[in-house]
Symmetry: D2
Subunit: 320 residues, 4 copies
């Protein structure tokens, strides 16, 4: 039975300077804030950590900065996201060298294939870095393959996978996966990538969560997790309700979509709150503009958070 990597593992949003370099000072500030709030670990270079936008050099910079800032206080999971096996293995070896506690890989993408290729993909990655726990990242919205529960449990029993980060938005499959994993002796640590229905995932028996919104406000996710551990469902629900209200920062924007809307709102909120210095986004994405920043600020205030910058000040941070 696996007990590693349980709890709250925020996917770390990567702060940029106005000229689109990694802002290590803001990154450290954000990591300190999350660790001080009590998160159980962090996950860097996930989808919201702009892994797809970062060159290999940039990825190494980010891993290095996160590992240094975390300084062994909590485990650091590292996303090794690329199209097919050999490219992923290269990232995995770098991650290992730079101090990753575990690595996270999706199904292969871009080229078309079937489940035989998916299974072989995970087996080869594990074989290449056998001493690093490997998490499967189930994110069909990005890779257009849904990882089947029976394959995941089988790879868990075979020692290939240590766990799953479920970003499939398919809560029915997730519940069945939790059940199958329990029946199999719990070989996998099962983390939900949800943000506003984490309570449901906990009801289902998740081993933890990887909520992007925790970059904005980790303490509520920590309180929700602790309440779950003690069976205090009323608190679980109360925290989730507040976090769902806060998550509206990603739905109040207009004229933007996908990564630009979601991570754009996270960065904007973190800049309004003083954690980040800018809401800069990686090419080819634009940062949120004044109207959208104002909409995000309104949500934060409605949720009772104190802003240290005005929307105008945030808008000015990327034009510097």
């Amino acid at each position: 039975m696996t007990t590693q990597f349980r709890g709250v593992y925020p996917p770390v949003v990567t702060p940029l300077t106005a000229d689109k370099e990694v802002d290590t000072a803001s990154l450290k500030r954000s990591l300190d804030r999350m660790i001080n709030a009590g998160v159980n670990g962090v996950f860097t270079l996930g989808s919201s950590g702009e892994v797809a936008f970062s060159t290999d050099k940039r990825r190494a910079e980010i891993i290095t900065a996160v590992v240094e800032a975390v300084a062994n206080r909590v485990p650091v999971m590292v996303g090794c996201i690329d199209t097919e096996t050999n490219r992923v293995i290269e990232h995995a070896k770098v991650a290992k060298e730079l101090g990753a506690s575990a690595i996270v890989a999706t199904a292969p993408f871009y080229a078309l294939g079937g489940m035989a290729e998916v299974e072989q993909h995970f087996r080869l990655i594990h074989a290449a870095v056998p001493d690093l726990p490997l998490f499967a990242y189930d994110i069909p919205v990005c890779v257009h393959t849904k990882l089947p529960g029976d394959l995941l449990v089988k790879l868990g029993l075979d020692g290939v996978l240590a766990g799953v980060k479920d970003s499939s938005n398919d809560d029915v499959s997730f519940r069945f996966l939790v059940d199958d994993n329990n029946k199999a002796g719990h070989p996998l640590t099962l983390l939900t990538g949800q943000e506003v229905v984490v309570d449901g995932a906990y009801m289902a028996g998740a081993d933890g969560s990887v909520p992007g919104l925790a970059n904005v406000e980790a303490s509520a996710y920590v309180r929700m997790w602790n309440a779950y551990e003690t069976g205090d469902w009323a608190t679980v629900r109360k925290e989730q309700d507040w976090l769902a209200a806060l998550m509206r920062i990603v739905t109040v924007t207009s004229g933007v979509q996908g990564f630009g809307a979601g991570v754009g709102a996270f960065k904007t909120a973190m800049t309004l709150l003083g954690t980040f210095d800018t809401n800069q986004m990686p090419d080819p994405v634009q940062p949120l503009g004044l109207e959208n920043i104002t909409a995000v600020a309104k949500v934060l205030k409605e949720c009772g958070l104190d802003l240290v910058r005005t929307p105008e000040e945030v808008a000015a941070t990327t034009s510097a």
Copy 2:
């Protein structure tokens, strides 16, 4: 604030005789069993009620049989499912005449269109039967349109919609819909069509559920609902866990898919349990065969249910 149609509203599975006529005796038996278990109402001619397979004459037979068997003990919602507005309105008028308490309609399907057509569709249906509460049935897997939350709340505030049956399997959208509905003064009754993550929907604040599995075992859904009403989350979770285990009847079959696997397993379970006389399916779908019936029986026994027929006996019911 709407309080009508709260609670557990099973979508009624339609029993057939071996020669594919409506089996009114089994239907009455099933409805009595669900009503005696304490369901708050029933929904006939939903997707699992084989509305798409039934001619207009057959649909009228089913409504009539359900309304008679229910005998005003609980409300009867009636699915008015067809491709476009005028066809739906015809069904709505029949449903009204035959005693429906409310009607349920999906977004238009088959022809391609946009949200302007969806909105006009619901407005015209309501205008045609203004005194019958109208529920929107959000089921993108069948109609390939996801109903947006802001449109639903707007149609609620305008008095067009009385509620929503959410079968979208998008629990994030559902949580935001619940929240928006509350902010708007709760014009809509919001029912989840989920079966194994109803606990999550209750955490989100659903007004009730429409679980097909309640045809097999309604009492656990009633107990879950009552526990939710009193804030007893431990019981909510316990009941949901048992129901999730029971729901495995739809995943243990092989060689079948979609309606044939899902409703096929419900009918098979109900025949094994003695509620239905056969597990017959409508053309062009085949009933589950012996191997699959045996797999369903195994799940029922693991869940502690007593079978009154053997798999062989069930297999024989459709070859009579």
Copy 3:
């Protein structure tokens, strides 16, 4: 080897009066125009014939009006489009009684299933009306199932299907289907539902076409067909180029989509050209407004067609 139903079979667009009744005078005018242009037959109650929008009574009206207006000059294929088998069979029997030369049915839709259900569906329809040629209508954009070539040829060899109307927009599959059909002795008549790449379908060896745009201008499709029959590819290409330019009536509109844009543009063009009396659309779809009518008129003029109504006059036809 099947030679029936070869050539140009326009799907008949259904004209409505301003108050949304069937406009039989315009319908006769349009059919006369197409038959005089030399089409080999017509197909009524296809997707563009607003089958999905028409009640059963309306469908019977349309079939009757078309059969009467055609008066045995050419064959009349009739669309029998509905969700599942028994509903389709009812339409098929009506079509037969009202004088259909052949019937056209899609894969089942709304309920989920697999290829076993698709095959049984076509077998049962044919068994119910064995003396009427049955065409499979391959239109995944509406029914979300692609009919596989090997199944189609098998059903052709078994005498279940007489042909296929291919609206799959998958020209690779179509070419392989033509090839497989030839190898099997040509049991199927293969008609393409394309409008602007009919030349490619003829290169592939199609037995004919079912182009909605022929309602606007049938003679060019007839010339293209005749050129194809004599191997005059330069003429095939010239006619297709002109028709592709004319087809821009469906892409120049704005603020509308799907059926409202496509059939809306056809009806508008036919009203500008004097064939139809209005560009009225069935509920819940709006007719094209003045701005879009003007855009359609511009395309018609650029293609050298003479308009008998101004855009303003067309816009006025639905507000009468």
Copy 4:
């Protein structure tokens, strides 16, 4: 008006040795064969050139080997395929340094976004390597974005794009794109990625083709192109018919799908014909096994090609 890069540009399939290294001898043999057959250029590191499976080091090896083997006889287009802008730009700079005549990039993928990001993506790539012609690679099956014709023509007029490789399998859009490009003064060279409906693309006015099947048999594509240039449509059709029959090598396999079936069949055919030394595939894909190799061999023989290896000999090449 652009006239560069017209004609037949095969996407180069990458031969591997049994131990999965680049087989430069087979690669040279294949390139010589295609160039001697008269192709107008080649495209390396396309989807079928296993770009997604190749590490950066491997990609550089392949470009280098292709450029050396081609030795300026024809232009070499190079695929710069990666998730987002900055990663693509890195590949573009390498391609330039290694001697690419032009580069080819898809829409961004993995992260979700909109058309604003797509446009900015191509603009930034062009700005980074302004002196290299940039082709947009429209391949929604891999990147899940369809490039709109109006955006492509606009980027052509702005000097950002030199052309388009259309692998969208949407022949209607392609015909409209050709037409819009002509109206705009032909800023773009438009190449179809089709294999069995190239005749239709030529009817539509394509400037050339990029058929993977040309690796197996380039001369027929060259003859088809030359016939198209002289308006000899009967020959265009005859060649296409033969090539469609040959393309069946990708549909006769079983138990494999996607890249493994398609490129697997190409490599197998080339090994049977003596061009490649093995049919080895990149991780995590398996090479075709004996049964599938035999099926491919049967198609080649039916098409009149002479095999230099037996299926058993080909099967033995990867187990060496």
